[in-house]
Symmetry: none
Subunit: 404 residues, 2 copies
């Protein structure tokens, strides 16, 4: 029996609420052997109090030694094995602008490029056309009409935009059209399997109409298409866990990832404090809340230990407000999708300190929230991130007994 | 996606060097509850210093409770699931004398035996003929010629020798010819599948010619054949990890195992100190070094706690020289292929203390190298040995990010 089958067979309709606070890239490294990590260097009285009340452990995002990108990192936390459910680049780009990708959608990462009078590419990024300008050019492409297929065109940034074809019988397996060099024409979209023949034709038609529309544009007079992809067939949070789930995030990428698993995007928060407000406002409407905090990752990526430490302290400040919502049946999780040590200025493979606070938690000896305490004393031990959701369900009393 | 696929897709061409020191059977048991293991009883200032700088953990060679032989133990450390990649006995015997087994080779463990004038076995081991004598008899068998097949005959020890048939279309699935009792004739080699028909015929022909050649030998006048096997189809270290790998070992068995995964055998060291010299001499030529130390296992197998403790101290003495080679990007591992507690005088199933020293290691609270510290505070937790190579690659900054 597979994990998903098991969980589906055990989920109950009752139980407490679950709040999963994901502090992106929260795990870190000491600058010197024996020194504190960013999290340990931070003053976190509230997180520490919660750790003392709850149970901690170390989450392995994928497998030992494997560094995840944001997509696989979040899929793992949501309980979907990232090695099974792989998100294609086009879908990730669409998720990155919070486009609600559906099951009949083929998503494509597109670049504006510049071609000369012979149709040969002279600039593969259309002079990195500024976003303000490309937004306007993207709007023109909304005029492309293809019978039987719904077409969405959405700006991303500078020369990058997303095209989505929605329709029946569209496979996601089409080769890139970017020739990867100047002085060549964009390639024709070629299907790599029989199911994607129609997609290739639709893409060719899109290209032809687009080039007609873009004629006369000074820079963005053509386009290339890459990363054709359909959304993997993911059961929704409702199907898998029986949970009405809400996602609260500032950045589009994380909204997009949450929407891939059927979470509803609530509010339009612009800060952590606003995210907490959205959480409070929606408390009675959902069973599960994913609350994403970006800046621990951002400052880690900057290689700035001190600023990452401060971001941890920002998170710490809102914890009492979040924790005050947690009733006797409920379950609060604090974790991260991966580590982002300032020392490495990048995502890393290191396990992620994680805690679960619930009346059902078997309290361990951890008195602080941090890598060393969680590692030395964590009652959850080292576990793969895909097991966090079953643990959450269990700690919210939402899973029945397996077997009699 | 499988582990090997994943690693192959993430490996980079750059990064640091990896040194894997395998102290065979290093894990042990206390003689009394609460007492130290052999490793803990030893004075190991250098290993302890490295443990304080690095990250420790407990490696499970196969699965909890499973005691590995040397073959599966090393395959696991090298990152090949020993339950998937099984090495047949014939191949293991060939590896044990460092015979370079190729993809078209069928390897067979052979025993000299003694038959009477009726062809009935009177001694299944030819009176345990001394090695000096059997080496000469094995030489006679080099005269066997079989059209279309290359034949290798190599002495092992006493009555044991190895035969290898090299050629196309030779399957490895042939039944043993040892009747397992005296008073019976050796059985005919019988193919157990269609692909092995030719092998069975070749084996019969080998047997017939051999018996002719051995006529008149006082003891070794016949032979039995067991453990017919081909090498499993293993990706090489280069293919799997992108690593140019060197193996440094005194004993043939470990050279043979390393050559199965495509490591180059360097030097002809006869002692640990000479192994370290070979490591230094070859430092610039390879990305990965497997350095094997045998005697912790040997003294454990002898049931000699005190002597095993001393062997650990021998290992400790060379650690500074090895560690001095490790630069900021490099990664040093100390581990074992299994435990060999003197208390049991045999291989055992107990997890193996393991450490990784690297600038990317998340330092843990371990201040010594030993079972208790690694278990209590090890930042690597308990992990299956097949994950050690991905961890090594990660700690040498040789793996890219999975997904965006």
């Amino acid at each position: 029996m597979e994990l998903h089958e098991l969980i589906q067979s055990l989920k109950t309709d009752e139980g407490g609420k679950i709040v999963m606070v994901v502090s992106d890239g929260i795990g870190g490294l000491p600058l010197q052997p024996g020194g504190p990590t960013e999290l340990e260097a931070a003053s976190t009285p509230n997180l520490d109090q919660l750790a003392a009340k709850g149970v901690s452990g170390m989450s392995l995002p994928i497998l030992p030694g494997i560094t995840p990108g944001s997509g696989p990192g979040h899929l793992g936390l949501f309980g979907y094995d990232p090695l099974v459910f792989q998100i294609g680049r086009g879908v990730l780009e669409a998720a990155g602008i919070a486009f609600p990708v559906g099951p009949n959608d083929v998503c494509i990462r597109c670049n504006f490029c510049t071609i000369d009078e012979n149709g040969l590419i002279t600039d593969r990024r259309a002079g990195r056309i500024p976003t303000e300008e490309s937004v306007e050019v993207v709007k023109l492409l909304e005029n492309v009409k293809i019978p039987g297929v719904e077409v969405f065109v959405k700006p991303v940034k500078e020369h990058r935009f997303v095209v989505v074809f929605r329709g029946k019988g569209l496979g996601g397996n089409v080769a890139d059209t970017d020739p990867q060099k100047v002085g060549a024409k964009p390639l024709d979209p070629v299907a790599k399997d029989a199911e994607s023949e129609k997609t290739a034709q639709v893409a060719k038609e899109f290209f032809n109409q687009a080039v007609e529309i873009l004629k006369g544009q000074p820079k963005a007079n053509c386009l290339t298409m890459r990363g054709f992809a359909k959304k993997p067939s993911l059961p929704t949070y409702k199907e898998l866990y029986g949970l009405d789930a809400a996602a609260i995030a500032v950045y589009p990428m994380y909204k997009g990832l949450a929407s891939l698993v059927g979470m509803e995007l609530v509010g339009s928060p612009a800060s952590l404090q606003e995210e907490v407000e959205v959480l409070k406002e929606n408390w009675n409407k959902y069973d599960f809340f994913f609350l994403h905090f970006k800046y621990t990752d951002s400052r880690g990526e900057d290689g700035n230990f001190e600023e990452k430490r401060k971001m941890v302290e920002e998170l710490d400040k809102v914890m009492p407000e979040i924790a005050s919502l947690i009733g006797p049946n409920d379950c609060l999780i604090v974790t991260g999708d991966h580590s982002t040590p300032a020392k490495m200025a990048s995502h890393s493979f290191h396990p992620v300190p994680t805690m679960i606070v619930s009346d059902l938690a078997r309290t361990d000896s951890c008195q602080k929230f941090g890598e060393t305490e969680a590692n030395n004393f964590g009652g959850l031990g080292h576990f793969q991130a895909i097991h966090l959701m079953p643990l959450a369900m269990a700690h919210a009393n939402r899973l029945g007994k397996f077997g009699a």
